[in-house]
Subunit: 378 residues, 2 copies
């Protein structure tokens, strides 16, 4: 049965309809409920339903032999090739009821690393730019910082000196800039920063430096009833204010590193204070632990880009259900950055070896992706 | 427009259709995707859509004046009255687009306590029966327990002696029975127990002692695009194996107390070991902290039954969006149990006072609920 073209356009980002065994399946997973659809869309949906039912009630037309399902490309920014095909094959098999590789909806858990997997992470994790900007914003209230390391180095833009301060200095900067506020206040601070601050060399908002092909992959998985989570070494409360808007991933599906918090209740106003003490590092061994704690299920689909994600990929690999493990390999020094084994940010060494050995999918940014950032898209 | 009766029956538990401004809205929130519906249901849905569209295209019949929307009772086990009406009014206002109390879908977060709110908790939290049964099951490997407290008291069914062991004894029992296994093993142990163990006086499976009216409330909220979470003092990994089946709440929407875990990787097989150390107590002040950590949003709808839930209700009350706070008051000594201010389990004292003062909804089990347990339902 041919699909009227307006159905294909019904959903703006990914195809909202597929034909299986002669039944038309509307994909409504992007709508938490039809209540949220506007009336025109609902009317349109019903009209489509009506039309198709009427068509199917008509005397059979000459059969169309083996016409493929509505052939909208779910991953338009991916070049055709083995990697793109592997993704599509996996999702198709996972959603084919009665097939040997069918995955029940409840088990369709997908976990994505963030830094280097969903957005860039060079020359340093973007959250660190946030911390630097916070030090500068708070400096007026801390005149002593002018002479006190590691703050002095930050205020003087002396990165070399800052690096000499080592891990202790970095932790000090993160704690000073991430703790002390209430959770509500911190959310506002992050929102304000993320909507205005720009990347030092790309001169774009950080949220413009997300990877278009990965946005499409997230949408494609969601459209096939995968529940998509972020599992990042970045701060959970640094990500949540904008992940919903940028990735379409709700706050409660974001897992990250966290600092301790404390609930207090004064004068009938409850609040949660952010304390200067690390609670959980969601990196390396922390990733399976975080996945177990927040999700309670091993993923069937997981994406990372560095050795810090290896344990997460192994955790998905240990799923008794067939799982898909994907590594993004930063190979594009022109459009993004090229780095792997010897990079301090996003080291990709053991993970690369294990991915090759176990035949996991390794995405070559330079050849697999038509565009990197959304702005490059036509 | 009259709704053909078969639509009403289309969805077995809650109404799947409502009519707003002449548009028919199918409620598909219970289906993560239409892919999971069987073909007959899809065909039926399309047929309904077609029928209604055709009906709406027909020349207008004589108008039906002010006919109410499809009047299927979303809460059939609730007696009519102020409390039931308050719930329905809140949900209707929250989902009425353009209304002053409309709540965007992303903000429709509902949090439910478990013990005493979704299932019974007398004569002692059900998880403690699990711990006792585990001590007995493990006793063969621990001959020393015959003479060593608190295990001796458990093996001799001497509750009085067991209580004398105090908190230290209880923690020892919980740690002995809840730690030491891998997360996969523990899930199997819980699943095995919950499908066979019976309540000592009710002589029913514990999962049969869930509250039918609350199941309907969960379904009603889900049908209106609320994302429903459990936020319980009970163990997170004790609940997750069965909450999906019993409440329709997925594992990643269950928050509870937890013990520390450790990821390990031997011979290419990753696993997570459960350690004998408490990580987080999801009770009292812990509930807002847990909600912030796992969800990242204040709830707009929350239900509890004891002082341990008061901080959660206050947290919802602090939501800038209008929120609904509900306390279940155990007033039914015949069908369930009656207890409040002086009970050791589920103490409801400060919470009761504050709920009265702030005009939160206090459900009177004896008068508000037609039935308590699903088995009583016709």
């Amino acid at each position: 049965m041919a699909i009227p073209p307006f159905i294909i356009q019904f959903h703006q980002r990914t195809p909202s309809v597929k034909v299986t065994n002669g039944f038309v399946i509307f994909d409504l997973t992007q709508y938490k409920t039809l209540h949220t659809m506007n009336k025109k869309s609902v009317a349109c949906l019903l009209l489509v339903g009506a039309t198709l039912v009427l068509l199917s009630c008509q005397p059979k037309q000459e059969p169309v032999a083996n016409e493929p399902a509505a052939s909208v490309d779910p991953l338009p920014s991916w070049n055709d090739g083995a990697n793109k095909q592997a993704i599509i094959n996996f999702v198709t098999a996972a959603t084919t009821e009665g097939g040997t590789e069918f995955i029940p909806v409840a088990d369709r858990i997908a976990t994505f690393d963030n830094d280097g997997t969903l957005w860039s992470e060079q020359p340093i994790y973007f959250q660190f730019f946030f911390a630097i900007d916070r030090v500068k914003a708070l400096a007026a209230d801390h005149p002593e910082w002018k002479t006190k390391q590691p703050f002095k180095a930050v205020l003087e833009n002396n990165m070399e000196e800052l690096m000499k301060q080592g891990e202790k200095g970095l932790v000090q900067i993160v704690m000073t800039t991430h703790a002390g506020s209430t959770t509500d206040e911190f959310e506002e601070i992050v929102e304000q920063w993320i909507s205005t601050a720009k990347h030092p060399t790309k001169n774009k908002l950080y949220t413009e430096l997300v990877f278009q092909p990965m946005l499409e992959l997230i949408d494609y998985l969601k459209a096939n009833s995968f529940k998509v989570f972020i599992v990042s070494g970045g701060g959970i409360e640094f990500m949540r204010p904008w992940t919903e808007r940028v990735y379409g991933i709700p706050k409660d599906q974001v897992i990250g590193s966290s600092i301790k918090t404390h609930y207090d209740y004064n004068d009938g106003k409850p609040f949660i204070k952010r304390l200067a003490e690390i609670e959980f590092i969601d990196d390396k061994e922390g990733k399976p632990v975080g996945i177990n704690q927040y999700i309670g299920r091993k993923p069937v689909f997981t994406c990372g880009n560095s050795d810090g994600d290896l344990q997460m990929l192994r955790w998905a690999d240990a799923n008794p259900l067939k799982s898909f493990k994907l590594y993004v390999h930063h190979t594009d020094s022109v459009r993004e950055w090229a780095y792997d084994r010897n990079s301090h940010i996003g080291t990709f060494d053991k993970g690369l070896d294990e991915a090759v050995e176990k035949k996991w999918t390794i995405v070559d940014m330079a050849t697999d992706w038509k565009v990197i950032y959304p702005v490059e898209k036509q």
